[in-house]
Structures are given as structure tokens and as C-alpha cells.
Symmetry: D2
Subunit: 243 residues, 4 copies
């Protein structure tokens, strides 16, 4: 609770940890089989998927039988800047609990674009491409972000010290401030998220996410691919369109 | 697959099995704490809840902070008559996969009210009460249900044998036919379901569920109370209104 | 309220009436423009869409910007058999109010397949095709449906006359009984519904709906096409996949 | 598009305009009546509600029959600071389209607390009360907000002028920047929103919203009360708990 101006941290990465999951390919298979067999045949943990299972999962994905992909859950702990959370929470098929600037003093952790972040936007809405940007552009961004973040956090601290309510003082903090949250989703909802928040221009349905939310999405996708490899492969091969 | 008319089964009970869950009181506590602490402090399985946790859960319930109750999941396998599933699936915050009469031949299992099922409805909509019913009423229900179910299933079989598509033949089957499904919910959604589908006249918000869906709800509630005892107690003490 | 066995009606059609709507292509355009212009520029009723509008709507559909298609609403009154409503209500992004067999005596109106309803199912799940069916198949379906419906309704009436509660008596009624409901959806949700409940084999994502729900969907689509012609055209040309 | 530093605007109010609605008490009544009458009897625009209607609406609210309150829609145009939109969009039963900092240059409009904004927070989470605050506190808030906003917007402009992508430059802008959006909700969803985002300590379920989102909610409530007076009165008298 003794965060001060001098403790300011600048980061260029995102934290995504899978803190809890109940998810495996077998769940999809057996949820689907209740339709055709009407029996309780849920997968045992660790049970191997057969070739027949692979075919069934691909069929479900192709024919957009979405509900079998819902009987599972992933809970992630995410640290990312507020402008990323703003986009994230537009996805309504998910459960969120975020750190509250009304209930706690925000820590001085701010996002600054890394040197590999493309800074120059070219083209028109819906068809933007990005170029790396010049050294000068990188310098001005680095300078601006650091100066503004530091100045804003100092003002925040001054208001708190003057006895101003946290919920008022926080309003001067910039969108690159880090926040943290738990988010719980099922595989169907996650595929929808990945479909829109990772880039895949070769798809029937292209997407052009902001790089920073894509950095979060890519980490989520790794966990997804690990826990449900057949489902992930079918999603990938089917053009990354969620059922 | 050789179900025939002579195999008809009549049941008066409901099957509710908890086939998978990732749910404990600690999840509520730690999801809530991210708001005030902004740290990853998810419960370890088996960790005991302190008195402070109990207070926090009651506070969240009372002030209707609903989202901390969403980071968990219960998957049930349910067998119940179609008229129960019709009511069940009106609850949209849940994931369903049900046996399909288009994809499989329905088995001859039918619901008949048990001898303890009240048959006489008294009063007006919104304030019905039920009386046990006379012996004659029980006799006519028993007789009607058995005769109609048997006759309908015979007609169903005849159409199938004549090569009629299952999706057409099934339309003569009655609403007391058993079906089966998986349903996945989180605790918040389940509390909403229980609040509306179990009777609790002493609440600010009374409810008058049909007895058969209440039989399903009561079994679900037992599993809920076992997995999340503090959350269940706070729900119960708070008038059974979901946050 | 004097429905009796002799009043039984058999129907082969579905009723879909658009009872209320607040929906036009202009709403999509102007909801989208808030993103790029940040101004309130909602369409005036009757205002014509320009070529630029057409392009924008196609762009939104292709890039799956779904939210601009949500700021509108359609309320339909639908009469259809219960087995159709069972499929309909699996669509969770909609609002439903259906006639209640607990609160009112159900009227004796039953669905019987028309002579143009294909009765023979060929192939495997996910790739069924239908053939018209033989004269004998049509005869047995007609006969079975009429006999079972009549017999079930008679049993229903007898139970009601004996003082048995409606909610118990109704359980012998078959799935081809007509019910009625209001359903309210927005265009995005409707496109998802149409995408799954009308047949379109040439799409990337084929669908194989049961004919009877397709009969409802086709009528809904006519209303949609009339109220939002540019949106409907973009949906049609884009492979009938909802954004 | 020539916004410059010298054009900075500071506001202390919120804009809420009802741009489109299809909503009246009669819709609730007639949606409910389909349950008991199974007939299409939707209200004509302007039709008066009878005393019987009033009773029905109160009954529906008390017994939490929520679905009849969903067959209507309100579309609002809202201008408010980003920290308000962050809370607003946690409400998932709604449709949003917001101005995009990726697609357009944000205008220099910032929120500064008015002189009547309480600045001092007293008590513990869940039971905060607010005091007006001292003259010094008001001075420091005014000064900090103006200085930080001006400085941040200047940095934003400099980055844009240097050719940095809008989506990167915007990250230095503070949470008190105004944005604009369309939001579409139905009455049930709006009552849930009002229940949580307006203060009503005398309720069974107290709420403690941040003042700025309450300023938006209060304006929405006025429109709601005007369009659906009986529904609003029943909501108010029933303790402001949404069904």
C-alpha cells in the first residue's frame, strides 16, 4: 500500500495464467453423443480420443453444432492495460471480476509498447496494415508514455493524500494503466474470442485485432490447444470460425 | 435398439447426477478479492474457509455482487419428462445438450405421477395451492397416462417400421416421455433457477413451481449445498433471491 | 372454453405474424458510424440508403462486426406445434412468452404433415436427405396422427372433468399440439436463427433443419427481408453466416 | 477533425438521449396474457391501461415473471467519460456500439467533477458514505484534472502528428475522456441496471453506485418512467429489484 511515484513500473507484456480448468476433448464428444445415444457417457479424465472422436468433433464444428463445446470451463487470471480490458469485456459470453479502482489504490504499473510493436498504421478501416515505425516514432512514444504515466500517477497520489475519494482520483489515470481480472469462459466462447482477436487473413472472415489484445489471446489459445487439442485443431482447420 | 411396446417403463422419479464440477466456496472469495486486492489468490482445492470468508460471501449476496458467483461450473446429467425440459430450457444462462428424436429412436420410458403427487389445484394463477386428490382422481390419471403412453408408443413404432422418418413419427409421442440431457451451469445461474423452481412461500418473492421440475431442482440443490456450503447457506438465509 | 373432442382441428401450416418492429437498414449504418464519427446520426424513418451504406453493411457482415445489427427489434406472434417450439427455444438470444398449459386449458389444435411433407429420411446424421415417401407412408402418418391426437385430447378432457389439475392432465398431450408465443429478437439473433433453421447446402456451413421449423423460419425471413432489405441481401450473399 | 489542444472542453454532465423506442406498458400486459389466453392481443399504440392491467403488472413484478418485460426496446445515445462506460459495459444484457479510438481521432472533451460532487469517502467497502469535501479538495481535483487532461491530450496530438497510429497514441489518454455510444436495452435489463446503478438504501438490496454512472442512470430512468409508467411504478414500489 506504499506505492509511490518512484515505484513506477513499465511493462510491455501481458500476463495470462490458467488458474482452473475443467476441459478436455472427451467432454465435447460425450456431450454430443447424448443426442444420438441418450446415455450418460462422459469422458473419464485422461481417456484417449479415438479417430472416431476426431471425426465427430470436425463434423460438429463444420455443421455449427455449438452447444457440445459449452460443457467445459477455463478460468484465467489476466494482467493487461485498461484499453485491452475495454475490448475484452465487449465479449458478453464470459464471466469477469476485475480489480476495482473504487475499492483499492491502483498500483503504478503502466504499459509501454515494446520495440517490436508496429507503430505506423497504413490503409483504411477494415484493411489496416502496420509498419514498424521510425526510430523517431519509437522515441516519441516511449517518451510520451513514460512522461504522461508518471505525471498522472503523481497527480493521483496527490489527490489521495489530500483525502480525495479513490473513485474520483482515479479518473486522471491513463488507459495504459495495468489492471487485473479473472475471466471464465467455455470453449465455444473462447473460440469466438480467438476468431475475432487474433489475426488470420486467410480466413473467409478476416480479422484485424489490436496487437495488445492479440497478445492476450495468443496466450489463451496456447492453453486451449493444450487442454483440448482435437477441438483446437478442428477450429484451426475450419477457418477459425466459432460454431 | 430393439425397444418394443412390451418394454414400456413407467417412472415417477427424476435422475440428476453431478457428472463434473469445478466449484467451491473459495472460488467466490478469491474472485471477489481481486476487486479489492488485485492479486491472484485463487483457492487451493480443500482449503478451509475462514469466518471472514463467510462474512464476505454474505455481503456479496446481500449487495447483489453477482459476478464472483460465476467462476465455477456444474455439469449435470438429467433424465426427466419432456414437459420438465420445456420449463428447464427457458433458463438461458445455461448450456444444454439433449437427446434428439431426430437422430435416435426414443426409448419407451414415460412419467406417471406417484401416489404422493398432489392432483387437485385450488385457487387462482399466482396463488395456487394443491390438495392430494381423491382416489378416483389418482385412478383416472394412472389409467389415462398408461393407456395414452402405450398407445402413442405403439403408433410411433408402427410408423418407424413403415419407414417413416423418426422426426415425423416422434410427433405423436406425449409430453410425459422421458428424455435425457447434460446441462452445465454456474452457481449464480443455478441460484436463479432454484429461486424460481423450488417453493419458498415465506420469501419476499414467492414461487410456485410445477412439482416435477421442483423434484429436479431439489436434487440439484443438494449437490450445490454439498460443493459450496457457505454460498448455499448465504443464498438460503438471504431469502433465496439470486444476486 | 368449451373446447370438446368434436372441435378438434388439424393443421399443416404455421402462423407467423410480425406484430411490432423497430428495424430498418439505416439503424445498422448509423450504429456503425458512431465508431468512426462519434456522433449521433440515427436514421430518420423512411430515409433512403445510399450506395455507401450498402458497402458499409457488406463490410460489417464480412468482417463480423456483429453489434451494429443489434439496435433493432422484431416481435413475432407464432403458432406452431410444441416440437417446433422445443427447437426454437434452444436459441437463447431471444425473448419468449408462450401459452401455458398450467394456466389455461389447451385448445384441440394439432399438426398433421401436409401431403407435400417428405416422409422418408435417407443417409446418415449430418447428411440426411429426404424423399417424398410412399402413399402408404402418407396414409399411416395421417391415420396415426389423427387417431393419437384425438385419443390424447379425449383423455385430457376426461382428467380435467374429473377435477385433475391442468398441469398434470396436459402431460398426455402429444408433441404435435399447437401452442402460441410471442418472440422478440434483433437482426443479429435472427440471422443466427435463419442460418441454422433454413436449408442452404451451398454454404460453407451447411444446415439440415427439420422442415417444420424451417416453415416458421421462412416466414420470419420474409419479414426480415422486407424491413431490412440491404442487411438481408448482405446476409444472403455472405453465405448466410450471421456476424 | 482539426481538434487542437486549445479546443479542450471540460464538462461535468452526462448526455442521455432516447433516440428510438418501442415500449409501452401494454406490451407487458399482452405478452403476459398469451400465457393465460393463448391469443394475439398486443396493445395498440396509445391504448389505455385498465386497473386490471396495473394489478397484472404488479403481480408479474412480485412473482418475478421477468420475460413479459422483454418484448420492448429502448435505444439511447450516451456521452459519458470512459470510466463510466467501463462500468456500464459490465451489463451483458444489452447491445453496445461505442466510438472507437482505433478508427477516429478522439475529441478533447474531458470530465471534471462539478462543485456538487461529493469528494470525501467515508466508511468501508459496501457501506461507503460521501461527504462534500473541503474547498482545498475541490481545488486540487479541479487543478489536477485540468492539468492532466490538457497534458495528456497534447501528448496524444504530438504522437498523431508524428505519424503514430491512433490505437497506440490513445493509450495515454485518461479515464475522464468522454466517449459516445448507442446502447439498446429492454425494460427487464434496464430495471436490473437501475437497480444496481442508482442509490436506494431503503431497499432489501442496497446499492452504492459511483455518482457519475448514477447521473446516466437517472436520465435513463426518466425516459423509462415516461414510456412505461405502470411498469416503472411497480418496479419502484417493489423495492427496485428487477424481476
Amino acid at each position: 500500500m506504499s506505492d509511490s511515484e518512484s515505484d513506477i513500473v513499465f511493462r510491455s507484456d501481458m500476463t495470462v495464467q490458467l488458474v482452473r480448468s475443467a476441459a478436455q476433448d472427451g467432454d465435447v464428444v460425450f456431450a454430443a453423443r447424448v443426442s444420438t445415444q441418450g446415455e450418460k457417457t462422459l469422458a473419464k479424465a485422461g481417456e484417449d480420443a479415438s479417430d472416431r472422436d476426431k471425426g465427430l468433433i470436425r463434423f460438429l464444428m463444420r455443421d455449427r453444432h455449438g452447444s457440445p463445446f459449452e460443457h467445459n470451463s477455463f478460468t484465467f487470471y489476466v494482467e493487461a492495460p485498461i484499453f485491452v480490458f475495454r475490448e475484452f469485456m465487449r465479449h458478453r459470453m464470459a464471466s469477469y471480476n476485475e480489480e476495482s479502482g473504487r475499492y483499492r489504490k491502483m498500483r503504478p504499473v503502466f504499459y509501454v509498447p515494446g520495440t517490436d510493436r508496429n507503430l505506423q498504421q497504413i490503409g483504411k478501416p477494415g484493411a489496416y496494415t502496420f509498419e514498424p515505425g521510425t526510430a523517431e516514432q519509437h522515441a516519441i512514444v516511449e517518451e510520451s508514455v513514460r512522461t504522461q504515466s508518471t505525471s498522472a500517477y503523481r497527480a493521483y497520489l496527490e489527490m489521495l493524500e489530500a483525502g480525495v475519494a479513490r473513485e474520483v482520483a482515479r479518473t486522471v489515470l491513463p488507459l495504459n494503466l495495468y489492471s487485473s481480472m479473472y475471466v471464465t469462459v467455455n470453449a465455444r466462447s473462447m473460440m469466438n474470442f480467438l476468431s475475432l482477436r487474433t489475426q488470420h487473413e486467410d480466413s473467409t472472415f478476416p480479422s484485424f485485432p489490436q496487437r495488445e489484445i492479440e497478445m492476450v489471446a495468443e496466450q489463451m489459445e496456447q492453453h486451449f490447444a493444450e487442454k483440448m487439442p482435437l477441438t483446437h485443431a478442428a477450429f484451426q482447420d475450419g477457418g477459425r470460425v466459432a460454431p
